[in-house]
Symmetry: C2
Subunit: 268 residues, 2 copies
């Protein structure tokens, strides 16, 4: 049984009905995605305000701390208490976070439709990551996975304005998270992986969103060798994928895809 | 002749060709969008690193400072020098920025697929904004504008992974900017408006992206009464639009749209 911090269970209703007027002048009821500010306090110190759908806030907070390298092991987290009344997520650690003030001071904020990131530090770390080179993915498994993913993303179909991410193993979907921000969705998956003791080494990371630098960095940090996206990629996402040797597949829909990097893990 | 700071002219090539392999095993040449880190130094103090396409970096930097309320008037900016060799944008102000250290220290970072924002301060300010209530938009003008916009976004067609924003007056497009981040595109437009002395009061802000809280806040800050998006909206984007009384139109494509708020400015 993997270690579990004490966690609240504070997921929010995901969509809200509002009235709008369409081009015929008719009043229509539309579902829109929730978007809520959640301010993260790490041992009572304010770290960041995340704008989130609120589907899995505890996993989001844990994954954020993991991907920002503010917490190194799940065991260092004693409790995560999310309270939507105050919009606060209070994280209690076992020993505190060493040099926290110093590390927050150095923070630079990136904006590739992105989020605040300890970017300089991450880029150094990226150079030291090694991904599993034995993992393989075939075109037929990819097609089966894309077909399975079609049955998810139900919130998106109802409300739009959302990004989906999934952690997959072969054609099976282990986690599926939707959020108003791409980065929240991947952070929530990182949190779920820690909570369940799931490793990235033989997994596939799927996203509906674009493969910008930060998305590739986050998948690489989780040691996931495959990234599959329905969308395109940016130059820096491509360069980082090449550098870490990740297998990057874009424009994946139905029986179409473009294989950009890491060809050795992919069999047509 | 409106005041102009001293500006570099450092726009970058927008797309790069790379090789990929498609589902038939054929090698194809694909254009991908540039994504470059640009670190903003305000009077030699590091403020933020923006990940950008680099189409209009000087306007982006000016608009970022404007929308973050770090600079109050264009005349306070003496020079913007962008140097891609070092990835630096050096901004020199006339008098320095009062209490800069204090204001940066208070920064919270929002992530609605967003960027670092002085969010608390902005929300207070939002309550004090008033938008032009005499401005009008008709369905036929909206359709003509959407048709005109179809001829833009050429980079998107080539490379994908981009968001477009435009500032429009009636069915005419005054500025059109694409970037890897929605927020960069709107910031660049804010910068262009300052540089050309263009007011927002009778304009339409168009975006391909979703109407999250920050997009609505930024349009309202520029005092633009109309927001039109090809995509959907989030609950907080909706709430803020209602609060400031902005006219919000989503899912606008061809002869379709959904009118969400500010109905009094819109005539079918």
């Amino acid at each position: 049984m993997p270690y579990r911090p004490q966690l609240s269970q504070a997921s929010r209703p995901a969509t809200y009905p509002i009235r709008a007027t369409d081009e015929n002048g008719s009043e229509v009821l539309v579902e829109i995605a929730g978007e809520h500010p959640l301010t993260l306090y790490l041992d009572k110190r304010e770290i960041v305000t995340l704008m989130t759908l609120g589907e899995a806030p505890e996993a989001l907070v844990i994954g954020y701390l993991r991907n920002q390298r503010l917490v190194r092991r799940l065991e260092d987290i004693l409790a995560v208490q999310v309270d939507w009344e105050t919009g606060a997520a209070a994280v209690t650690t076992r020993h505190g976070v060493a040099d926290l003030a110093d590390r927050l001071g150095k923070r630079t904020v990136t904006t590739g439709c992105g989020q605040g990131t300890v970017f300089g530090d991450l880029m150094e770390e990226i150079g030291q990551l090694t991904l599993d080179d034995q993992a393989r993915l075939s075109a037929s498994t990819l097609y089966a996975l894309l077909e399975n993913l079609r049955h998810y993303a139900t919130l998106y179909k109802r409300a739009g304005a959302l990004h989906s991410c999934a952690l997959c193993c072969g054609d099976q979907i282990l986690y599926h998270v939707e959020d108003v921000g791409r980065h929240n969705a991947v952070d929530a998956i990182a949190g779920m992986m820690w909570l369940d003791g799931v490793e990235g080494a033989d997994k596939i990371f799927y996203t509906t969103g674009r493969l910008t630098s930060e998305m590739v960095i986050k998948a690489a940090q989780m040691e996931i060798p495959f990234i599959v996206s329905r969308s395109g990629l940016t130059q820096m996402g491509y360069e980082i994928a090449r550098k870490v040797g990740i297998t990057l597949i874009g424009r994946a829909k139905g029986h179409h895809y473009l294989l950009f990097t890491g060809q050795h893990r992919f069999a047509k």
